[in-house]
Symmetry: C2
Subunit: 236 residues, 2 copies
Amino acid sequence: MAAIEICADCSVRDLALCGSLTDHELEALNALGRRQRLSKGETVIWAGDESIICANLLSGVLKLSASTADGREQIVGLHYPADFIGRPYADAADFTVTALTDAELCVFPRKQFEQVLEDHVRMERLLLQRTFAALDEARGRMLMLGRKSAEEKIAGFLLDMADRAGSSACRATVEGPITFDLPLTRGQIADVLGLTIETVSRQMTKLKASGVIGLPGGRAVTLRDRSALEERAEPA
Amino acid sequence: MAAIEICADCSVRDLALCGSLTDHELEALNALGRRQRLSKGETVIWAGDESIICANLLSGVLKLSASTADGREQIVGLHYPADFIGRPYADAADFTVTALTDAELCVFPRKQFEQVLEDHVRMERLLLQRTFAALDEARGRMLMLGRKSAEEKIAGFLLDMADRAGSSACRATVEGPITFDLPLTRGQIADVLGLTIETVSRQMTKLKASGVIGLPGGRAVTLRDRSALEERAEPA
DNA sequence: CCCGCGCCTTGACCCGCATCAACGCGCACG
DNA sequence: CGTGCGCGTTGATGCGGGTCAAGGCGCGGG
């Protein structure tokens, strides 16, 4: 079966929505799906355009962004491998989706994907659960954007990124300083946190100066004192 | 049938999720549902508590809010009649739900509601669509919170509220000045927009002074120049 | 090799909004 | 009838973070 072969080498087969389908059911999706490579900076979906596609992210990092008429930008979400992209049941896309790194997608025509969704209740339920999770995350970010100071935003962001980096690298229980690379430029971090690039830079050097983190160079960050960082992220 | 009788006098029978069910199917929900009255200021769900219930809002306005450890609050959503409340498939509630006015709910035990959801695919699909819409709205608010000035926030908020008031009162096509009541105090508006009460007050008087709106008293607002308001909400 | 460009940092300045404070109004309550 | 309280307005002041500007790395390309 060609279908299974294509999915068989899929790096996110069990993590993506498809994980809810049996090998047999997978064939329906496979007939529809098509691999697409994106290079860094490339945009797959433009806000306002007709909502034509849905996709699973296979590798790389994507940003979901909105912007004002006069060009200010806000990143409203980040997508990592196994995440679902696109907006079923909507005629137009509300947000722009752009690759932050080279990336690979498994793309489906929206209408046909909706049909598959209707035929496979377990997948639809999984999508509902993920959408709820995304909604909770978005609302958490609203608290961050509306009520937190620059220092709290940066500290919280670094903790989030460390957790994400840690979960894949799995140094969970290690208590010593951990080092990881941010997948974002300073400017992109600013767009996530609702700050300017200068403020991001200054807050990071401030944290470095107080010994809470280290900045070995490039986009690397070292957490030297996690509890101090937590204290700054969420002051009692 | 008692079941139908209870739902028969339901003010949101066709607008809420239940609208996707036939009279016959409705009986399953009715066996579960229970009316609950809330008085202004009362909280139904506390962030962090176990997620026990789901509900449809029959009348009134509710706020969904998050807060920092040191007490700063952000309203992350508002609920109006026919809206669905609660979080299926989650063990704990992430946000607090509080009545801004006296309100009436149709409450279901969460676990049992999930079962009904699984038995009625059309309802589950409708919930998925609504959750997508809520997610899009939340993300739109992230742009507002992260990147807009106080003046833009207030102008946009007033336009939103006017649309909502207008849709029920249905003076859609009338071009003259329209007047409506805000269901929120200045403090609550501040919590929605990520501002302080003083800034909300000052921006409103500024709009009044420039003749764009009128403030007849109480919580009433008159839109005198909608296009000027739109210009301030979204500067080119 | 040097140039240019993207990314980051740092400094000086200033403005928008938070903060602190005082006061007016309407209303429930003793 | 006064008193207190919730809500809104207004003013004075200060600071956090935005804005503008200059310069430093690292790297790819001519």
